[in-house]
């Protein structure tokens, strides 16, 4: 076996994917979000840099690259400095198992792990480590509260998310993401139809996992002044944003893979279908952000523990009954 070539291939793929995330998910994701926000609120959104404000976030990035890094005296410097790296890397790791499409018989996926779905859920929850580390190390009361809220929220919604993933795995009979896409045939065979309750649970839990409105208590601008990243300046702040957007796009890509039939579709090439479906989910998430008010912490925890988790477990039972009888 030629290990050296494989390692080079892996490095190339990782660099490519990271660049893709930084440009498509973070830069143009933020721009898309601001444009959609403007559209929903009858504003114009960014408009001055480049045609229709297309280079706005590019200019922002160049600006952030020239900004000073400030580490507060009170902070724990080692943990404070590594936290953004953890969040950004966790955002990348989700994408290892996401199949983008096919070219002939070749499936465009970094690695089709046999535990794909479990791997995804493990990597998605790595973010909480970075957030908790950053919030704690800042030694700022707002950050601390934001980090604690974020941790309790993310662990609470991980369980409903897992129940949705398990229901899908039961139906498909595999944890491999490519296998799950293959198990969905045609529009009626896609799991959004056969596993509709799981889809609803997945979408709610995914929104909460990526800390987006209506579940954005950890950042709550109006009370916690950005929560866990209050103390972060310049590029470190941008890394948190990158991780967050990479995570959001990963959740959308996973919803596409698990429920919407992944790359499958008529006429257009598979990769295009995958992107169309993924962007529809991303649009849905952004639409929610500009439409709903924020939850209160007790409402948020009740929704997860008292409604979504029992519902998810019951749905596993129903799916099991249906498949064995």
């Amino acid at each position: 076996m030629n290990w050296f070539v494989e390692i080079l291939k892996a490095i190339g793929l990782a660099a490519l994917l990271f660049t893709f995330l930084a440009v498509v998910a973070a830069m143009f994701g933020v721009l898309l979000e601001r444009k959609i926000g403007g559209w929903i609120q009858s504003r114009l959104g960014p408009k001055h840099v480049g045609p229709q404000g297309l280079f706005q976030t590019l200019a922002d990035t160049v600006k952030l690259l020239q900004k000073e890094h400030i580490t507060p005296y009170a902070a724990d410097p080692a943990i404070f400095n590594t936290a953004p790296l953890i969040v950004a890397t966790a955002g990348l790791m989700d994408w290892v198992v996401i199949p983008f499409g096919t070219i002939g018989t070749l499936v465009l996926v970094v690695r089709d792990l046999n535990i794909g779905v479990l791997f995804f859920s493990a990597m998605a929850s790595m973010t909480v480590v970075g957030i908790l580390a950053g919030g704690w190390a800042s030694n700022n009361k707002y950050s601390m509260l934001g980090a604690l809220r974020s941790a309790s929220q993310m662990i609470s919604y991980e369980l409903p998310l897992a129940t949705a993933l398990i229901a899908v795995a039961m139906e498909a009979g595999t944890l491999s993401t490519v296998g799950i896409v293959r198990a969905q045939a045609g529009w009626l065979g896609s799991f959004v139809v056969r596993q509709f309750p799981a889809f609803v649970i997945f979408m709610i839990a995914a929104t909460a996992e990526v800390n987006r409105v209506p579940f954005d208590l950890p950042e709550a601008e109006s009370e916690l002044v950005a929560g866990y990243f209050s103390e972060y300046t310049g590029m470190r702040f941008a890394l948190f944003q990158l991780g967050e957007y990479a995570e959001m796009f990963a959740m959308a890509a996973m919803a596409t893979t698990l429920f919407l039939g992944g790359w499958k579709g008529p006429v257009l090439p598979p990769l295009i279908w995958f992107l169309i479906k993924m962007y529809l989910v991303v649009f849905f998430l952004m639409w929610m952000r500009w439409t709903y008010p924020r939850f209160r912490l007790d409402q948020l925890l009740n929704l997860s523990w008292k409604l979504l988790l029992p519902a998810g477990l019951l749905w596993i039972l129903i799916t099991g009954y249906r498949l064995t009888n």
Binding site: A74, T89, T324
Partner: protein, 119 residues
């Protein structure tokens, strides 16, 4: 093949950290460094910070994480069951019904005991 999969995962971790550190290196080279003492004070809405943030906080957070650990471990068993239960058939289903009922009883217990209340 399996080993190769995890080689990729390992390389992704390393490259991810390196790529994330790259912009920080650019900042290190480009950005000014003029850290006035006031700049490095902890932000607290403009007033001089009062005490530390590393103080006591609500014990509720701990209770939720405890319940989470219990359920998360149980969910791991469900994953391995989910992919093989079709081959084993009805027996596996009823086994898991018993397991899930115990799980739901646990949830009901935590609920009844008020571990899921935030107040």
């Amino acid at each position: 093949m399996l080993l190769l999969d995890w080689l990729y995962v390992g390389v992704f971790v390393v490259v991810g950290l390196a790529m994330a550190a790259l912009p920080l290196a650019i900042v290190w080279a480009l950005a000014p460094r003029a850290a006035l003492p006031q700049k490095r004070m902890t932000y607290e809405s403009g007033v001089v910070p009062f005490g530390q943030a590393w103080a006591q906080f609500n014990v509720r957070y701990y209770l939720f994480s405890l319940v989470f650990v219990i359920f998360d471990v149980e969910v791991i068993y469900l994953y391995s069951w989910a992919i093989v239960f079709k081959q084993i058939g009805r027996f596996a289903f009823f086994e898991m019904v018993i397991f899930l009922v115990i799980l739901l009883l646990g949830l009901a217990y935590a609920w009844r005991k008020g571990a899921l209340e935030w107040a």
